[in-house]
Amino acid sequence: MTSKEKIQQEIGQTLQSLDGLKRAEANPFLFTRIKARMDRKANVWERTFSFISKPAIAVAIVVVVMAVNGWALWDGPGTGETISAETNGSELANEYNVVASVDNYDYDNLTNE
């Protein structure tokens, strides 16, 4: 038998080496291990929720959230200027070169009056 034929024979036998293979058996205590893992997982979530649902912790979280919201609303020191609802309309119009009448609108010679 040539070397090539021998190799082909080996290949054939190797490809058949799984024929009649028996299924591997899982650990007989697999369910016990699964249950233990699931219980550990449930405990982690339970501990987390029971921690944040403690009154002191829950109140602290609410206070922090409200403080952050309040700071955002007040917007820091600011310039002290406020826009008054009684601002004279003509002052605004002058500032922005707004002319009430469309007929008199002179685009080329806009001036503050």
């Binding site: 293979l21 028996k22 299924r23 058996e25 899982a26 650990n27 249950k35």
Partner: protein
């Protein structure tokens, strides 16, 4: 004797006894399938646990349009392949971290001995498993389901959600690839 449909209904209610029955009934199938793909007994056991936990958590998504065994095979094969991908990524990352080394990414993989192989076939089977490990994912999965679990091409096609002819093609390509690898191996070891 409770039937499978009733068992699944009870499992959907979170019944622990039903869950235990399902684990006991299917654990060897799940373990053997995963073992064929990952080729490591410790990892296969951890992954088998993952599979059953997923079954418990996702049983409400099982609509009964496929066989329960098909659904279980899908979860098992997906879990095994995800694990292999994750291992590969970690290996690449580890290689990048050790750039001061000789640059040789290949480490020697220990031979895998499947516990169900007969004694006189052990060495040949180890060589074959190494070659199976190098197959592309789809071919590896089809080959494992057919050869290790004894599924017909039709059953394999249901697990892979493809056609029977696609499975025939996968198996044909798998066999060609295995022959090529084995030829390289035996040419090296017989010279």
């Amino acid at each position: 004797m409770i039937n499978e449909a009733e068992l699944i209904e009870q499992l959907k209610q979170g019944d622990e006894t039903a869950f235990r029955t399902i684990v006991e009934q299917w654990k060897d199938m799940v373990y053997n399938t995963i073992l064929g793909i990952v080729q490591n007994e410790t990892e296969a056991e951890d992954l088998a646990q993952d599979v059953f936990i997923k079954v418990f958590e996702k049983i409400s998504t099982f609509k009964g349009d496929a066989k329960f065994s098909t659904w279980l095979y899908r979860i098992a094969t997906t879990t095994a392949l995800d694990h292999l991908r994750s291992k590969k990524r970690k290996k690449r990352f580890g290689f990048l971290q050790s750039l001061g080394g000789d640059g040789d990414e290949k480490e020697s993989i220990p031979d895998f001995h499947h516990p169900g192989v007969s004694l006189d076939n052990k060495e040949r089977a180890a060589v074959l498993f190494k070659a199976i490990g190098a197959l592309p994912e789809n071919q590896k999965t089809a080959y494992t389901l057919h050869k290790l679990e004894g599924l017909s091409y039709r059953d394999v096609s249901e697990v892979l959600n493809t056609s029977v002819s696609a499975v025939e093609s996968l198996m044909s390509r798998a066999n060609q690839n295995l022959r090529k690898q084995l030829e390289q191996y035996y040419n090296k070891h017989y010279k």
